[in-house]
């Protein structure tokens, strides 16, 4: 119906955004008693989200006409933004920005390079940036869960950790059970995404590929590629973070620094 009234694609897109945004506001108004704080947050989040995504769209349409190497800068910018978001979630962990930056760069960077070198992800801006952004964003989420869960585990088990230290354990050994718990918890969503693929949800990239004319079977297989790539990047990022985080939670004399 909108197509009839707004033949121009850009105008139609703005109207669609307006309708979707207003619907979300109405839903939020209806639920205002449950979460009064969200009434202020939702319009701001919508405004911020639409401006950011429009900016990305503008950059993409500019890059499509530029050289391929420019995508490296876009992806690097995304990694920095992701690390900054993780830092906000992990304020109690010292130097969390550098930790997240290293972990996300190592996880997403290694896997994207490997997949690009093997030809699994074509070196084309229109594919590299959207797929890269999905890998970076999901690695970021995994990092946030990992650090948040680890903080929770450590503050809930200060007695056990200090008992282990008092018995002569190293900080690495004392922290190990809680690192394992955080590692597992952070990767559960990625594993569940792979497990439920096609049954519970048909992710966006597959829908997009089908809409743009790819064979549904190839689109389905490619979706699996993307999700397993996300899992690998997230797992590498968590491994890197696990190795870096101990020295942020303990002094050089193996004294626990993070307390409730």
């Amino acid at each position: 119906m909108l197509e009839h009234f707004f033949p121009n694609q850009l105008t139609r897109g703005l109207i669609e955004c307006l309708i979707a945004g207003l619907t979300a506001l109405i839903v939020m108004l209806a639920a205002r008693r449950r979460a009064p704080g969200l009434i202020k947050e939702v319009p701001l989040a919508e405004l911020r989200g639409v401006l950011q995504i429009v900016a990305v769209g503008a950059i993409l349409s500019f890059l499509l006409h530029g050289p391929r190497w420019t995508s490296i800068f876009v992806l690097a910018g995304m990694v920095i933004a992701a690390a900054s978001i993780v830092r906000k979630r992990a304020k109690q962990i010292p130097r969390a920005f550098m930790l997240a930056l290293t972990a996300i760069s190592a996880g997403a960077g290694c896997i994207l390079c490997l997949m690009a070198l093997l030809g699994v992800i074509p070196l084309s801006i229109t594919i590299l940036i959207p797929v890269g952004s999905m890998v970076i964003a999901n690695t970021m989420n995994t990092q946030s869960i990992f650090l948040d869960r680890l903080r929770g585990e450590v503050t809930a088990h200060v007695g056990e950790i200090e008992s282990a230290l008092a018995l002569g354990a190293t900080a690495d050994h004392a922290l190990s059970p809680y690192l394992n718990a955080a590692f597992r918890a952070s990767l559960i969503p990625s594993v569940d995404n792979i497990r439920s693929l096609g049954i519970v949800w048909i992710p966006g990239i597959m829908a997009g590929m089908v809409l743009s004319g790819s064979s549904p079977l190839y689109a389905a297989l490619y979706q699996f590629v993307v999700l397993t790539t996300i899992f690998s990047a997230s797992a590498i990022a968590c491994l890197v973070a696990s190795n870096m985080v101990t020295r942020r939670l303990f002094s050089k004399h193996d004294q626990l620094l993070l307390h409730p």
Partner: protein, 218 residues
């Protein structure tokens, strides 16, 4: 030595605490809540870092001793047992395993028998009562064969019956093994009967140190 918290204004947890403990001596540490008793113990096995001064262990600056070795030599029993998931035997073997030693099953059984927990080796450590758990925690600390034992109110979280049981156990262990012991306690009667000397802390400072009669009166 002492420890200052980097807050505004700076807060002294332990202030210029200077004292010595001789081998085999039992030093009771008493004082009101918040006096810095637990903070003092945490400085002694370097769970916290002194901001001034140091500790000498047999004349050696403890900062020159690897921290894992130091903590094995200065054992600690905390207010709560904080046992690890696994069996009682695994908990007792934990300390020796940290420096590559395996503790024989028979030895674990003997240790447990000694603290009144015969046949508990294969029990799940997390299903024990408070008193039983604290006995395991004491055994776990002793399995490292420490030169000094720090007791941070080990009975304060127990009910009355368990408290007197664990206190009796500690008293007999200290006497039998001639342990060098720093015992934080609220129980002045216990300090009077068990300690060779008593150290009274107030607001992080040593208010008095001497024999129980000198510090606590007759």
């Amino acid at each position: 030595m002492g420890r200052e918290l980097p807050s505004t204004p700076p807060r002294m947890l332990v202030n210029d605490a200077t004292f010595s403990v001789t081998k085999g001596e039992v030093l009771a540490i008493v004082g009101p809540s918040g006096a810095g008793k637990s903070s003092l113990l945490r400085l002694l096995n370097r769970l916290d870092e002194p901001t001034h001064g140091t500790v000498l262990l047999h004349g050696e600056d403890y900062r020159n001793i690897p921290v894992q070795t130091l903590r094995r030599r200065i054992g600690m029993v905390m207010q709560r047992a904080y046992l690890f998931p696994g069996t009682v035997a695994e908990n007792i073997a934990y300390g020796p395993a940290q420096h590559g030693q395996t503790i024989a099953h028979d030895e674990i059984s003997n240790l447990l028998e000694h603290v009144g927990l015969e046949g508990y080796a294969t029990r799940n450590a997390l299903t024990l009562s408070g008193g039983e758990a604290q006995r395991v925690a004491i055994t776990r600390a002793l399995a490292n064969d420490p030169e000094v034992l720090l007791l941070d109110e080990p009975t304060s979280a127990l009910d009355e019956a368990a408290r007197s049981d664990v206190e009796r156990l500690l008293e007999s262990l200290i006497r039998e093994r001639h342990l060098t012991c720093l015992w934080v306690t609220h129980n002045l009667e216990q300090a009077r009967t068990m300690a060779d000397r008593v150290l009274m802390l107030e607001a992080g400072r040593i208010k008095a140190i001497g024999t129980p009669t000198e510090v606590l009166g007759a």
